[in-house]
């Protein structure tokens, strides 16, 4: 495998989906394949920014006994997988962060070995002290922006010099395929022009399902995000064993990352 053509990916997964041991196998597959980033979504009862695939997976994970404290245990295991070069991000909704206390959530995330926090409903100017608390723990808050985000909001968001920005390539919710076009490139350039001066990184995603999409985005951005597509692949067909699931996930990631 030629390292330089292995795309930088951020791969999304949900602990306890479809159950704890299977989700551990999924995480191992992602890390083993060499994804640069893993986005671990802590399930919330009311994920109003997610589409049906991720919402159903979150409900299943909650029914399987997900608790926030177990989420941090999960993160710790993933961060400590031998030989891992994968950065761990925790994605969740404001309710979970606020209920634990913003400072405690950040302290627990840092202790577990996370690198980034993605909390879309704690926006930069209504963040309940998230950025400050994260910084104090050496964590990075990754803001999410969309094509309809205005220039003045992009200025506001990047004025805090986030180490990484998550660009959703279209409006709407997770789960449906995004057709890539010139407007995506314009959006990417709008963000990059604000990140490059200080060296901030850009990951983009929403509706990425195929190698062709990754290939098109790879030269433009620092990382490409894969979400619902993997969630779907996990259950279909049902895994025969954890070993097989880990293998399947590693292959899935590799196929998206290389030709």
């Amino acid at each position: 495998m030629n390292q330089s053509t292995f795309a930088s990916l951020m791969v999304h997964m949900i602990p306890f989906f479809p159950d704890l041991p299977s989700s551990q196998a999924v995480a191992r597959g992602i890390v083993r394949a060499g994804a640069d980033h893993i986005e671990i979504q802590f399930p919330f009862s009311d994920p109003s920014a997610d589409g049906p695939t991720i919402e159903a997976a979150c409900n299943r994970a909650l029914a399987q006994g997900f608790r926030v404290s177990k989420g941090f245990d999960f993160v710790r295991e993933v961060a400590n997988l031998p030989g891992s070069r994968t950065r761990v991000h925790i994605m969740t909704y404001a309710s979970l962060v606020y209920a634990r206390g913003v400072q405690k959530f950040c302290a627990d995330a840092a202790e577990a070995g996370a690198w980034g926090l993605i909390i879309p409903d704690l926006p930069t100017d209504n963040d309940e002290g998230l950025r400050e608390a994260a910084q104090a723990q050496g964590l990075h808050v990754v803001p999410v922006v969309v094509p309809t985000t205005t220039d003045s909001r992009l200025d506001l968001i990047t004025s805090t010099s986030p180490s990484m920005v998550y660009g959703a390539l279209r409006t709407g919710i997770t789960g449906t395929k995004t057709e890539l076009g010139p407007e995506n490139e314009a959006f990417i350039q709008r963000i990059l022009s604000r990140l490059r001066p200080y060296g901030g990184q850009l990951a983009v995603g929403f509706g990425i399902q195929e190698r062709a999409q990754v290939r098109a985005l790879q030269p433009l951005v620092d990382s490409v995000i894969v979400g619902s597509a993997l969630v779907r692949a996990i259950g279909n067909p049902p895994a025969t064993s954890e070993k097989e699931l880990e293998e399947r996930v590693a292959n899935f990631v590799t196929r998206l990352a290389t030709d």
Binding site: S48, A49, P52, A99
Partner: protein
């Protein structure tokens, strides 16, 4: 008619805010601007007032509940008959206001959430009147138990979409409407039905509902009394805040909000958030008091009245409860049914189950206050819509006989 000085407060103490992903940010920023602009425009105000009069049937009457007052032997009880508004509840004041606003800013499609169906019915009627296509999201469980309202919405031409995610009730319908809006806001207005959600909704819904309190002020002055106490039920809080708003600065009036006590005090058996059970949280775009577990996951609720069966409370009422300006009580399912029977028998008025929660506490309070004082209940809705629930609870045998006969009749025809 509107509070034009600072109509959008955004935060009420620590509660409120606009805790949304960036994708909804633009839509909400634009909505705030459009709303503030509209309520300063005499043409918009005139159009709204004319339709409130001609289409909604305002002002709604306020009746002296003479028999009830005599039987209880306490304060004079008045009932603001908000349920006489078109489509049977206060919901239409807000639906009409937002519908006109949507049209004014060039939106060509309306979406809404509904629980019991009252807000859905009001929105569907307004959309029919204004010529706007409308989709109403409604939990699968509610679709099943509120068929008459689904029928009305469809008759008004709305498309009712059954929501199968989560608990399949009101909060899930809100999630689904938010999902729709995240990709459709360029041409679609989300017509939210209570005084909650991300700013500017709590402020906007209060302004469109304040017509209730405004009329009460005039109606009590015309009769030569000043209210000592006002009582309203609280689901999300739109009828209560609209009823209270013009009196918030008037310390002579005590304001009472009544939540759903359901069938018990354990989490899952009620929808009362204000007496220590709710936790401060951020859900569905706003900070307020919610029924959550320690992880911040939203908990199931129960009430005999679908309109009160929601885990969060509007941020302004949460704040007013915290400061003590509004006092909160709860009525159980049984107390609400008893109050419904009481006012039907004494006053010839059938309360909606939601409003009957206010009625139940009002009776107790009137007794404690004693004669010479004046208390006003907001009957936010009339009870026709609840007949499948109330008849089942009050006269199960006769109702069962009727339903079996209906089915036999329909099958005979086929």
């Amino acid at each position: 008619m509107f509070e034009t000085d600072k109509p959008v407060q955004g935060f009420f103490g620590q509660f409120g805010g606009r805790y949304v992903a960036e994708v909804l940010r633009t839509a909400l920023d634009e909505l705030e601007e459009a709303f503030v602009d509209a309520i300063h425009d005499p043409i918009f105000k005139e159009e709204y007032s004319d339709l409130l009069r001609d289409f909604v049937g305002r002002p709604t009457p306020m009746v002296f509940a003479e028999n009830a007052t005599r039987e209880i032997g306490g304060a004079n009880i008045y009932i603001k008959l908000e349920g006489l508004a078109a489509t049977g509840a206060h919901k239409i004041n807000n639906a009409l206001g937002q519908g006109l606003l949507a049209k004014r800013i060039g939106k060509t499609r309306i979406i809404a959430e509904t629980g019991a169906g009252q807000h859905g019915v009001a929105t569907a009627a307004v959309c029919a009147k204004l010529g706007l296509p409308c989709r109403v999201y409604m939990g699968e469980v509610d679709v099943r138990r509120q068929r008459p309202n689904v029928f009305s919405m469809e008759l008004y031409g709305a498309e009712v979409t059954s929501v199968t995610s989560g608990a399949k009730t009101l909060k899930d319908a809100v999630n689904e409407a938010l999902r729709d809006w995240a990709s459709s806001f360029a041409e679609t207005h989300y017509l939210l039905g209570s005084a909650l959600g991300p700013s500017p909704f709590p402020d906007m819904v209060r302004e469109f509902q304040s017509i209730i309190g405004g009329e009460v002020k005039t109606q009590s002055k015309d009769r030569g009394f000043h209210p000592d106490c006002m009582v309203a039920c609280v689901g999300g809080g739109s009828n209560a805040i609209g009823f209270f708003a013009p009196f918030l600065g008037d310390s002579r009036v005590s304001l009472i909000g009544v939540e759903a006590g359901g069938r018990g005090t354990s989490l899952g058996d009620h929808a009362a958030r204000m007496d220590g059970t709710g936790s401060v949280g951020i859900v569905q775009g706003y900070k307020s008091l919610f029924l959550l577990n320690e992880d911040g996951q939203v908990q199931d609720t129960h009430s005999i009245s679908a309109g009160l069966d929601y885990p969060g409370i509007g941020p302004q009422l949460a704040h007013l409860g915290t400061t003590g300006r509004v006092q909160f009580l709860r009525s159980t399912d049984t107390e609400a049914l008893e109050a419904l029977k009481f006012f039907a028998r004494t006053e010839g008025v059938i309360f909606a189950l939601e409003s009957a929660h206010a009625g139940a506490q009002a009776v107790k309070i009137a007794q404690e206050m004693g004669p010479g004082k004046n208390l006003i209940i907001n009957m936010s809705g009339r009870g026709d819509k609840d007949i499948f629930i109330t008849a089942k609870a009050i006269a199960p045998q006769a109702w069962k006989g009727f339903l079996s006969h209906e089915i036999a009749d329909m099958e005979g025809i086929q």
